[in-house]
């Protein structure tokens, strides 16, 4: 009887190993997104190069799936009217103005409305509420690894300071 148990156990483990299921891990990557000061007259952007992220560089050729992506952020509204900060992503270099960004990049984050002179901290647990087009973000992480992130707002004029990080959970393995 003991032998049958062992054979069944080994058979199950072998089947899962062959299918790749046993050799994968879940890893959380954190990447700085230092947009800094951005205004409607001088839109700021940040070049994300995940290949400089040690965790990504170690695993990029072994990523099976990108499970979760979100942005944590501290956003200061330095302007005179309340508005929402927005992050857009683009793999291509596009003109850095609001019209081009809205037309050619993909909006992936919209903050809650922040009063003039106020600030907002988007924590990790809250961050998922403010993500949009997560599939595009996942595709950028999985298939590109390098892309632009632009910081604008939902209305003009705006003047924000954005300190952010992208938090990504991947499944990786052989």
């Amino acid at each position: 009887m003991k032998r049958y148990f062992m054979i069944l156990g080994f058979a199950a483990i072998a089947a899962l190993t062959v299918s790749g299921c046993l050799l994968t891990i879940q890893k959380t990557l954190i990447e700085d997104i230092n947009i800094g000061n951005t205004t409607n007259n001088n839109v700021a952007r940040y070049w994300v190069d995940l290949y400089t992220n040690e965790d990504y560089a170690d695993n990029f050729d072994k990523i099976k799936s990108v499970d979760v992506v979100s942005f944590v952020a501290k956003i200061y509204n330095l302007g005179t009217s309340a508005n929402k900060a927005e992050l857009y992503v683009s793999a291509d270099t596009i003109p850095v103005n609001i019209d081009s960004i809205q037309a050619r990049a993909t909006r992936v984050f919209v903050s809650p409305s922040i009063a003039a002179g106020d600030s907002a901290l988007i924590t990790w647990n809250e961050s998922h509420k403010y993500i949009q087009n997560e599939d595009v973000l996942k595709d950028f992480v999985l298939n590109r690894g390098r892309f632009w992130v632009y910081g604008i707002a939902d209305s003009t004029p705006f003047s924000h300071r954005i300190i952010a990080q992208m938090v990504v959970t991947i499944t990786a393995g052989k």
């Binding site: 199950a12 899962l16 299921c21 879940q26 700085d32 924590t123 647990n125 998922h128």
Partner: protein
């Protein structure tokens, strides 16, 4: 004398076999689920209810319901250490047992199960997956129709693209046996 002894032993064996047939047991259990190499969730508690039916001595089938709490994962972010909700999980499933799951005394078995798995977290969409688990267990059935059971399980939840979430789980449970098997 020898003939009577042999007949007596045969009758005793048949009676024991008969008593081992048709056992049904039901009971709650409590344990832990421990995610393996997974930074998205941490270990948490697990509560469940299961029912088993053993039509013959070495095969049984069952159903289970599980409710799990995952611990919150943590990360060092630019504003300091932070956590997010690990979430709750509910699973309904079917179980198959190879080995002895009925009869008074210690019963050893190997179990495999398939379950429908729903993971709920704050601010995130629910995730539904199919989960597979297998592992050994032992139940000591007392003459009062109660069994104390312990089981360890390895669970795999395929996520597509040959990836998976994996957990080790263990529990201790109490089962009430209805039927001849436990008498």
């Amino acid at each position: 004398m020898k003939t009577k002894l042999a007949v007596g032993l045969i009758v005793l064996a048949l009676a024991s076999s008969a008593l081992a047939l048709g056992d049904i047991s039901i009971g709650p259990y409590y344990g832990m689920n421990i995610p393996i190499v997974n930074e998205e969730i941490k270990s948490g508690g697990m509560f469940g209810i299961q029912a088993k039916f053993a039509p013959i001595s070495f095969l049984a089938a069952g159903l289970h319901f599980q409710s799990r709490n995952y611990g919150d994962p943590s990360a060092e972010l630019f504003y300091g250490s932070d956590t997010k909700d690990g979430g709750k999980l509910q699973s309904f499933g079917m179980d198959a047992y190879l080995g002895k799951t009925s009869g008074i005394g210690p019963n050893f078995y190997l179990m495999a199960s398939i379950g429908s798995y729903k993971w709920t977290r704050d601010n995130m969409e629910d995730i539904s997956k199919t989960a597979y688990a297998f592992g050994p267990g032992v139940e000591i059935v007392l003459p009062i129709n109660l069994g104390i059971e312990g089981r360890g399980m390895f669970e795999v939840v395929p996520t597509g693209d040959k990836g998976s979430w994996k957990s080790f789980m263990w529990f201790i449970g109490l089962n009430y046996h209805i039927g001849l098997g436990a008498m």
